[in-house]
Symmetry: C2
Amino acid sequence: MSRKKPDIQERRTVARSRLFEVEELDLEFSNGARTCFERLVSRGRGAVIIAPVQADRTILLIREYAAGTDRYELGLPKGRIEADEDILVAANREIMEEVGYAGQHLTHLGALTVAPGYMAHQTHLVLAEDLYAQQAEGDEPEAIEVVPWSLDRLGELIAREDCTEARSIAALYMVREYLDA
Amino acid sequence: MSRKKPDIQERRTVARSRLFEVEELDLEFSNGARTCFERLVSRGRGAVIIAPVQADRTILLIREYAAGTDRYELGLPKGRIEADEDILVAANREIMEEVGYAGQHLTHLGALTVAPGYMAHQTHLVLAEDLYAQQAEGDEPEAIEVVPWSLDRLGELIAREDCTEARSIAALYMVREYLDA
């Protein structure tokens, strides 16, 4: 079944902060139903999530304070793509800042959405291989802990209480499938 | 390494709409660094994402309009947990509304976060088995398309341009691992 998308009849900003903007949409579906949805407006060019993998299938995870859940979370490094920055360049910059490595071999494995019902935000998944030590200065308020973890122990990682982020979990399985293919 | 969490010194609401509330946090990290973060305040009791699986390992996906990305997205059914509703009850209600089935056997496989850096929001993953036809009235503006998909063709699903949501992808891999264990 291929359906005609609803028609966006009006959009208006209803709330705005330094980082977030909320917009209200008046929609008319192809069956005539009308509704009003709120969504977060995406600024910028999206984000990257990076799987830095060593030759022995060890992934370099990070453990970092997350203000949303108010706890330390274990997952893959990620960050925003800056203006005019290529996806792979952004990926390598983020792992130099957060993990202290760069990759000689970078592969774009696809894009993930976070909450397509109310956010356009896209996160590009990049596999980084042939790693070499290379630190760059980031803007983190405290040093980030790097946690090496074998891809062969993925079940044990996902069972942990501090590894819950859907993007990290999806990305780790996708990388394992890609490397095993 | 086990670190002391940053101290939240002040919180204030900086923007608010019908569905969203943005709050600003003043944080002091254990190393003395101070910073200010914005996050979305979670109201309610979180959400459920459900994997309704038939005996032959066919998963019942849905294809639904997503206002954030302004396109139809293919993924697992999900929805909010209502006040005083149990996780498994919410899961069964959502699949009755969106898929037209209920499960006799429901298993809570864990919780996923969407963006822990700026959202507390949690989505509980529920596997629904021993399905039987049972429709309930939802509040969707148009009929939802149900798309049966074999768990053995997961790679092909994730390669599709309309299957991008990290929660659905993480959940599908977690369910496959659980059923194969």
